[in-house]
């Protein structure tokens, strides 16, 4: 039993026909061919699947497609503009915030969400904001620095 789901993904209206319990993660990756969002655990623990849904950070492996009907989504593909890196992406790139890169899309979206709510976050707020995104490579230090630099860069704009 499939159902029609309408989504605004990265500013574009998309329509898919999927089982209502299909994970939003799989809708993005399989039906919309947006493979930037990753699966790391399937339990909502690692944050690799994080996207912005109606402006809020969510783990897309835990969202059934039906509940995303009518939603406005931002995935990693929507963070840059016409190939121009968003300041967050630029700062991750310049400060070693991405090593193997698999956590990076989710981490960047979590950062996007954090800076949206806290434009000049303290270290504690950064730690809390990113605590749902596991990184096995960096030990988080380079990521914190990237986030702090991104906050400065955005503030300057």
């Amino acid at each position: 039993m499939k159902c029609g789901i309408q989504l605004a993904v990265n500013g574009e209206e998309r329509r898919v026909n999927v089982p209502p319990m299909k994970r939003l993660l799989d809708v993005l990756r399989e039906d919309l061919h947006l493979t930037g969002t990753k699966e790391g655990c399937g339990e909502g623990e690692c944050g690799a699947c994080a996207v912005l849904m109606n402006g809020e950070l969510v783990n897309s492996c835990l969202v059934p497609a039906l509940q995303a009907n009518g939603a406005r989504l931002c995935t990693i593909e929507g963070v840059s503009t016409e190939g121009r890196l968003h300041p967050i992406q630029q700062c991750f790139l310049e400060n070693g915030g991405a090593q193997c890169g698999i956590c990076t899309p989710g981490m960047i979206l979590a950062t996007h969400h954090l800076l949206d709510k806290h434009p000049t976050p303290t270290l504690e707020q950064i730690q809390e904001g990113l605590a749902g995104n596991l990184c096995r490579c960096t030990g988080y230090m380079r990521i914190f620095e990237a986030v702090q630099k991104a906050a400065e860069a955005q503030h300057a704009i």
Binding site: M1, P19, P20, M21, K22, R23, D26, E39, G42, E43, G44, E45, G47, A50, E56, L57, V58, N59, C61, L62, V63, P64, L66, Q67, N69, A110, H113, L114, Q127, E128, G129, A131, G132, N133
Partner: protein, 291 residues
């Protein structure tokens, strides 16, 4: 991903009334899914028993925080983020605000609801200890009408609640009665963030002239359901927390807590550890009442 999603039905009735109608016509057949932070994990791990689900995540009727003079009424569909963002909760019901802040990650707080947290009925759930201490009440709704019961009567056994098959949790109400009360809440998890509770304690006490006039204690992971520690409360109610009497009061409280708590060994922690830490948290709480 361990489930075939084509084997599940999910529909989203347009209104609360429609949901109540559906579950009244087929009681017990459907699982209600709000934010999905529990049920979707079950789906992912191949353990979602219920094949037919009803989504209530979109229902505006369930997502509210209404403040009256006596109480704060929180709709069952209110997310943890909603709770954290409500200034009056941070001010008057800090234990609840705190509990919401350490439930999962930001992403899970944006989706998880207080209703789901309560109805999933895990003994380790994060909001129940605070709600028990605050003497919250819960309003249950069905086509037959609504009823409000004390929250401490909601959990009947392991993962078994007072909800009838045709009922839905509508709201949680917390009295605005704690001005001047001392509040304490602490969670001990497997790590600092995004952790399931090994043990958590919420304590609420009214202290006048070094005497505990009234006290409420709620705990997670000390029983097969969230525990209102009436034994420990009874042992210290009316007792002194003056420096010279503190030792004695603590000892009585700890002993009573040890008697009523029945923690288990599981994959995360051990019964003895839970007991010991529960006693330490209780002591920490009582000591704070002394200062």
């Amino acid at each position: 991903m361990r489930s075939d999603v084509t084997g599940y039905e999910l529909n989203a009735p347009p209104s609360l009334q429609a949901v109540l109608t559906q579950i009244a016509s087929e009681p017990g057949r459907h699982a209600l899914i709000a934010g999905g932070t529990e049920l979707m994990v079950a789906l992912n791990t191949g353990r979602l028993a219920s094949r037919s689900l009803i989504s209530i995540q979109h229902l505006r009727e369930l997502r509210f925080i209404r403040v009256t003079t006596d109480a704060v009424h929180i709709g069952a569909g209110t997310t943890f983020t909603d709770i954290r963002r409500k200034e009056i909760i941070a001010r008057e019901l800090p234990m609840l605000a705190q509990a919401a802040s350490w439930t999962g990650s930001i992403a899970n707080q944006n989706r998880g609801t207080i209703g789901g947290n309560i109805c999933n009925a895990s003994p380790a759930a994060d909001t129940p200890p605070a709600l028990l201490a605050y003497k919250a009440s819960v309003t249950l709704l069905s086509l037959r009408g609504e009823r409000t019961i004390p929250y401490e009567e909601f959990h009947l056994a392991y993962k078994k609640t007072a909800l009838e098959p045709d009922e839905i949790l509508y709201s949680v109400s917390v009295p605005r009665a704690y001005e001047g009360w001392r509040q304490y809440i602490r969670k001990v998890g497997t790590r600092n963030a995004q952790a399931i509770s090994k043990i958590a304690l919420a304590g609420l006490a009214l202290v006048r002239s070094d005497e505990i006039q009234e006290i409420r204690i709620g705990a997670a992971s000390l029983a097969d359901r969230p525990l209102r520690c009436v034994g420990a409360e009874g042992a210290v109610r009316g007792r002194s927390v003056a420096q010279s009497d503190l030792e004695g009061t603590v000892r009585l409280g700890s002993a009573a807590l040890a008697r009523e708590a029945k923690p288990i060994d599981d994959i995360r922690s051990t019964a003895m550890y839970r007991s010991a830490v529960a006693a330490n948290l209780l002591e920490e709480f009582l000591r704070q009442l002394s200062s």
